[in-house]
């Protein structure tokens, strides 16, 4: 009987991953992967993603280029009745970047209370816990999820999560303490406030300031309509303490995100919006922004079910993404003019899914990048053909 419990637990997980608008809780993203549903105790799986790019910026192009963007390997184990383990090893751009993106252990006391520890994915917005490329019908991740929410954000920490079912609604919560981000949020290679630069391998070994960051998310899901969530991440990011001595002011960073996804008529819709506030050293103000925001809206409409090559459930989907990020909200004290540093993009695309875990996609992308001074935006446009599949 005891042996059957893991199997029963696994069967309770979604066996088949869906398209971009999933039918499961965002919270369960890390277990909403097809390889998990096919085993009884330990399994290996992953996904691979590649694409080709052709872009032109203000008449200048580097020509075509191709990349194997990600090759990620998952390892899952149902360790015991209430303990399960999941890891994700990522090879990005071939072997240019190799990272242990996830290595977590869950101990389930009840569905409403699960303890989690290890290298986790802080529950900030929707994408961070649901970043697998085969889920998405666009080649690129939304800008707000890479430039402001620093997905994929994985940090060492621990916390709890759970869900309740009440009156047809599934309510979920997540709360974690992690090492947080590091000093390079400012003074980085981009010359502007860049939250993703605050990620660092050294933070997997030790917090840079001994003060953990908090992340949490509350969400409500109505199975027939979709899910809405609000999430928060906050913590000190700078090394204000060295050898026990305070050597700088404590600088707080926080991100508030709102995400929603579901079905509207024939369309699958997903949107996220995030706002960040960053305490900036007084000597870096204005050129390093203390406020940022961004958001995107994806609309996907299945337009054709061709039954290709024996794939009875193959579907062709037309999509449109609108997105905008502002990396430096505010005005110049010297002139009163708006500070720029903004990107606006429109991305129409078409995808083909022979099965739900494999996607071929073609995107046309046009985006406008305004520099900090607010000069005429640089215009960049091009095409991307890509594929991604779970294995």
């Amino acid at each position: 009987m005891t042996r059957l419990v893991p199997v029963a637990l696994l069967l309770s997980l979604p066996a088949v991953v869906g398209a971009q608008a999933d039918s499961t809780l965002a919270q369960e993203g890390v277990y909403d992967r097809p390889f998990i549903g096919s085993v009884s105790s330990t399994s290996i799986g992953g996904y691979v993603e590649g694409n080709t790019n052709y872009f032109v910026e203000d008449g200048v192009t580097e020509g075509f280029s191709m990349e194997l963007r990600r090759f990620n390997v998952f390892l899952f184990s149902q360790v015991s009745q209430r303990v399960r383990f999941l890891s994700e090893l990522e090879f990005e751009h071939g072997t240019e970047e190799i990272a242990l993106e996830t290595a977590l252990i869950d101990f389930q006391i009840a569905p409403s209370l699960v303890l989690r520890g290890g290298i986790i994915l802080p529950p900030l917005g929707y994408l961070n816990q649901n970043h697998d490329s085969p889920r998405w019908d666009f080649v690129e991740r939304p800008l707000v999820t890479t430039g402001i929410i620093p997905s994929t954000l994985s940090e060492v920490g621990f916390g709890v999560y759970g869900k309740f079912v009440t009156r047809g609604l599934v309510l979920s919560y997540d709360a974690y303490l992690t090492n947080g981000l590091g000093d390079a949020v400012v003074g980085n290679e981009l010359g502007r406030t860049n939250i993703p630069s605050g990620k660092g391998e050294e933070l997997f070994a030790e917090d840079n300031n001994g003060s953990p960051a908090f992340s949490g998310r509350l969400a409500a899901r109505q199975p027939s309509r979709g899910e809405i969530g609000v999430s928060y991440y906050g913590g000190y990011y700078n090394s204000f303490r060295v050898e026990g001595e305070e050597v700088d002011r404590r600088r707080w960073l926080e991100i508030l995100a709102l995400d929603a996804g579901g079905t509207v008529g024939p369309a699958e819709v997903r949107a996220e919006i995030a706002r960040a506030a960053i305490a900036i050293p007084p000597g870096m103000s204005e050129i390093f922004g203390d406020r940022q925001w961004g958001g995107y809206l994806d609309v996907l409409v299945p337009v054709w079910r061709p039954g290709l090559l024996g794939y009875a459930d193959a579907v062709v989907t037309a999509g449109l993404r609108l997105e905008r990020v502002d990396y430096n909200v505010g005005t110049f004290s010297s002139t009163g003019g708006d500070i720029g540093d903004e990107v606006t993009a429109i991305v129409p695309g078409v995808s083909l899914r022979p099965t739900s875990g494999t996607v071929f996609r073609i995107n046309y992308r046009y985006h406008w990048t305004t520099d900090m001074q607010g000069n005429e935006p640089a215009k960049r446009a091009g095409f991307q053909l890509g594929f991604a599949t779970y294995f």
Binding site: G59, G187, G191, G283, I287, F332, L385
Partner: protein
Amino acid sequence: MHRAALFGTILLAFPLVGCDLLTPGAPADHDVLAGTIEGMTPSQVRQHLAGDAEFGRVFTVADGLGPIFVAASCEQCHAGDGKGHPVFNLRRFGRPGTSAFDPMIEFGGPQLQHRAIPGYPPEEVPVEATGVSGFTPPAVTGLGFLDAVEDQTLIDLADPSDEDGDGISGRLQLHEPSELIETVLELERRGTPDPEARGRRVGGRYIGRFGKKGLTVNLLHQTVGAYHQDMGVTSDLLPEDLFNPSAGARASDDAPDPEVTSAAVGNVVFYLKTLKAPARRDASDPEVVAGEALFEDIGCTGCHVPTLTTGASEIEVLDRVTFHPYTDLLLHDMGPGLDDGYTEGRASTSEWRTPPLWGIGLAQEFQGGQGFFMHDGRATSLAEAIEVHGGEGRAARDAFIALSPEERSRLIRFLESL
């Protein structure tokens, strides 16, 4: 099945067919300042592009940015190689000394670095300073032409005693010899076809030609100075880091010095030398042509000399070339309205080096859509810029004000065409 094949074919063919139709085209050459001088060899273009990459390089704390600085890259101040935004204005300060102007070195002068890496205190202008001046970053396009003008040309243009009686004098900025100046001039002489034509001494001093008051003698001098003073980045020629005296003498950053290689500096200098001259727009428009005549008639060309010629240069495209920068690279007294009480070298506090006017019609394209003119960006239109001229520029200013509205409009049209 046929429908599927057709669909797939159309889908895959779409990017190939649509590449040119759906991608942004290049702006017209005369609408941008970036770009190489026409006729450069492939190897020169390669070095120009290497310099371009260095010009755009953002220095991080680990790279050696700061510890005090104004900007983190060359390009932040000179976006698109154009005139900079006031947010990157340099502030320089000092006070009158007993025998010469005191740049207040002991207070961190003469240049303020009001930004600092995390955990390090930025500088503030000391209360003891009596003169503070803002310097808006200039456009960097066409600098190679100005750099290649022979010293003798500037000596010939100078008229310190106004012997021609036109009310405009024009003095050479001259600097006492220093190890840095002599080194940058010696490095420049190497490989130059006519080494004697550059770095000449006048009364035992060297001619300054770049900077608002002619502080630097050539582009190498200007470049290592900007790395050091604007970004806090050390080089072989200026190997000691900046520090804020209030943080403790020589308390600096942790990056090993020099923080930029001599090769990178060399590439940036080459990049600056080989940026094209700004192209004119609507030069043959009758209104513009009429405005150009008015520009000369009212005496603007007394300082803003339209045409200069380069000397012998090892870079063929700069070798003995006639060009139109609208400057004489000399110091002129601009009157009390433009006297900030600050100066450099032997210039008086009201003297400024004539800025080149080429490219000024595109200035606002690189300043966030709003023009900021004069040395500190105090004027927000070309007409306002003319109207704040004084001293040697006063006669021309008065003549401009006396023009009819139509004539003023033509003159402005001409400036906008530069």
